[in-house]
């Protein structure tokens, strides 16, 4: 009986104490942070540069100017809603997507040796140039697959190259930092998902690059000459298409002698006009 009473007394004292302390040391937090956090997707991917969604919500509420803050997972709609709620103006960004800049599938890029160490691109890249003659290309161990929190990247067993699922990719950028070869880039998703990019990172001279991979960029510069919008620059034997300037005319794709420039989500080309090959 006495024990029960003592316990109750301790409980009561502790409750009072807790209440007093909680009142004294209460942290005033803007209730809007909770609301903003609820509006964010809650993926906690870190793509915005903050530790989780709450970090971004906190920053969104506190900063005067939120134009530098962006949640790529939620996209423009989410940002607009949050900005409306907070009475600020949100940054407007075009939706982005991760693209894999390597064409070196198994049939195009012959293997010259076998790697049998730890299954990690980082480990392999620290050791040597990789299983093929191209030391710039994809190593195929799938560090990007592990890094992707949305399950958007898978390694195609046939080509042994990563493939990005357009529906699932949120452009958080985890794969970009995970790839030790810097192959993955965030590019504009484009109207109707249409985009053109150089699917190669090889900076070797043309002959060497070509020997290592049939679909390598050989730095011939034909694409740069063809481009009517000066969107293509050539540096270190490698072409790069500036997505801001590119108007998706697809002339470079046709021109590339190795087929290294990739076009995505375009309707099939009209069959080439039949030239009168029968002769007169």
């Amino acid at each position: 009986m006495i024990a029960v009473l003592i316990l109750c007394a301790i409980g009561a004292v502790a409750a009072v104490l807790l209440y007093v302390i909680a009142q004294k040391f209460r942290v005033e937090e803007d209730p809007r942070i909770d609301d903003v956090e609820k509006m964010l997707p809650g993926a906690n991917c870190g793509g915005c540069g903050f530790p989780g969604c709450r970090g971004l919500a906190d920053q969104l509420v506190k900063s005067e100017d939120i134009s530098s803050l962006y949640c790529s997972v939620g996209g423009g709609d989410t940002m607009k809603r949050i900005a409306e709620y907070l009475g600020k103006t949100a940054a407007e960004k075009e939706p982005m997507i991760a693209v894999v800049r390597c064409n070196g599938s198994c049939d195009k890029r012959p293997h010259t040796n076998v790697y049998n160490g730890a299954p990690s691109c980082k480990v392999e890249a620290a050791l040597y140039g990789g299983e093929t003659g191209c030391s710039y290309g994809c190593l195929g161990n799938g560090d990007c697959v592990v890094a992707c929190k949305f399950g958007a990247i898978t390694i195609n067993p046939e080509t042994r190259l990563p493939e990005v699922d357009e529906e699932k990719c949120t452009a958080c950028g985890s794969c970009v930092t995970a790839c030790p070869k810097g192959i993955i880039e965030l590019r504009k998703k484009g109207i109707k998902g249409r985009r053109i990019y150089v699917g190669c990172m090889n900076q070797d001279k043309g002959a060497i690059a070509r020997k290592a991979c049939l679909a390598a960029c050989i730095g011939c510069g034909k694409c740069a000459k063809t481009c009517p919008f000066e969107a293509i620059t050539l540096q270190n034997n490698l072409a790069y298409i500036d997505a801001e300037k590119c108007r998706l005319c697809r002339k470079c794709v046709v021109e590339c002698p190795t087929g290294g420039i990739r076009e995505v989500n375009f309707p099939p080309r009209k069959p080439a006009e039949t030239t009168s090959s029968t002769g007169a």
Binding site: N113, G117, L127, G129, G133
Partner: protein
């Protein structure tokens, strides 16, 4: 018997080629000389395409203090200065020379006569060593003149010569100690003179009794030099372990051997110093062990730098049919070759062919925390933990666990009963931690 205290392993020795006398490898058709054959900044080429060069002529000049000269190893015409793939398959700037005849610089003394006396002052000897492009020939290729230049406020009292050759298979240093014993001792004496030390110890593991006996006998004529037989233990050839084994001094974490008054050089380096100072011969050839359990003729070859590795293997009977892997260096610390046509460089101590059976890694299983890796780690680290944290990219904790002390000897991976690729991840973690430390330092300096 002396030895280092902590950890270490004793892998099967397989010193198959220890009875093979050093032979001269025939000249190749062309050589590829990378400009970065040493630790530090790559050299700057000082010849042009189409130039005719002689054996021993300088073709690359050092790019800063921690860098080295590169000499032509053959006579002929420079055919290209471009990027060539190395053993890792990565391209680095190199000079390609087509071999025409074998015409040496006239200043080089090609006779076999032993020159014992040297009246040069120490500065002149050091200058000769620098200009001969000598780097640590044990495999680390740290420029020798940097180690021999003692900075202000530091003092060295012992020179330790590394004749340990603790890697399995390799016998290049062993043969060199047997065949060029007198030259090595003169070289060590010269190194003592440069450093101004009165004591030099040559550490040799007692699996080379003939070398110990021969050098001990000859060293009686050199009062400064003594030979120290050592217990066989890998990685005794590592600088810090060798210092502990011979002098009992421990190099603290993050410090250099010079901080405990010691300078370490390899026997091969001592021989190169002899040739550079007494014979005016720069470093353009080295002894390479070509070996393997199924290789037809295991040999110790004197090879001109830049010779393709494939021609060495062809000379020794060609690649065996059951080959699974070719390693450049020893089997413990060496690396599997991705490009067999890569050139022999200053750091190539051996070429080892591994049979298919031994080349494949076993399937890794789960870590059972048996701590075998902890007990073999010669630096007293916790490999299982470091490896795991490196995998999880927890770099601050890695730094606190002294990952930067790891010498990448591979004892942990060798001994792991679960076949875990411990070192693979440790290496990645160490590189990242070192990178972060470097960035922090440069930021602080600003």
């Amino acid at each position: 018997m002396k030895g280092f205290r902590k950890g270490g392993i004793h892998p099967p020795e397989y010193k198959i080629s220890k009875k093979e006398a050093i032979q001269d490898m025939p000249l190749p058709e062309s050589v590829v000389l990378p400009l970065g054959q040493h630790i530090g900044a790559p050299a700057t080429p000082c010849v042009q395409k189409g130039d005719r060069v002689l054996v021993g002529q300088i073709i690359g000049t050092p790019n800063g203090f921690v860098s080295s000269y590169i000499h032509s190893s053959v006579s002929g015409t420079v055919t290209a200065i471009d990027n060539q793939p190395d053993v890792r398959g990565l391209r680095s700037p190199s000079i390609t020379i087509k071999v025409e005849g074998d015409q040496w610089l006239e200043t080089i003394d090609r006779s076999d006569a032993l020159i014992k006396n040297c009246t040069l002052p120490r500065e002149a000897i050091l200058k000769k060593i620098t200009e001969a492009g000598i780097v640590g020939l044990g495999g680390a290729t740290f420029p020798a003149h940097v180690k021999l230049t003692i900075p202000q406020g530091k003092h060295a009292d012992v020179l330790i010569i590394n004749g340990v050759e603790c890697e399995p298979f390799l016998t290049a240093d062993h043969r060199l100690m047997l065949e060029k014993s007198e030259e090595i001792l003169i070289g060590v004496d010269l190194l003592c003179k440069v450093l101004g030390v009165d004591e030099a110890c040559i550490g040799i593991e007692n699996n080379k009794p003939d070398a110990i006996e021969r050098l001990s006998q000859l060293s009686l004529n050199y009062p400064r030099i003594k030979v120290v037989p050592l217990r066989v233990r890998y990685p005794q050839g590592s600088e810090k372990q060798l210092i502990e084994a011979i002098s009992g001094r421990e190099v603290p974490s993050g410090k250099l051997p010079l901080d405990v008054g010691v300078v370490v050089q390899n026997v091969g380096t001592a021989f190169a110093v002899y040739e550079a100072v007494q014979k005016n011969k720069p470093l353009f050839e080295r002894i390479v062990t070509v070996t393997g359990r199924s290789l037809a003729h295991t040999s110790n070859l004197r090879v001109r730098l830049g010779t393709p590795i494939s021609s060495l293997i062809d000379y020794c009977g060609g690649l065996p049919e059951d080959v699974g892997k070719v390693i450049c260096g020893g089997p413990m610390m060496g690396r599997a070759i991705a490009n067999i046509n890569a050139p022999v460089t200053k750091g190539t101590s051996g070429i080892v062919t591994i049979r298919e059976k031994g080349a494949v890694r076993k399937q890794p299983q789960n870590c059972i925390k048996c701590a075998k890796c902890v007990s073999v780690c010669c630096m007293g680290l916790e490999p299982y933990l470091i490896s795991k944290l490196a995998r999880l990219e927890r770099f601050d904790e890695l730094e606190a666990l002294h990952v930067t002390d790891c010498l990448e000897c591979g004892s942990c991976s060798y001994t792991c009963p679960a076949n875990l690729p411990l070192l693979d991840y440790i290496r990645v973690g160490k590189a990242e931690v070192l990178r972060r430390i470097r960035i922090n330092k440069t930021q602080q300096n600003k």
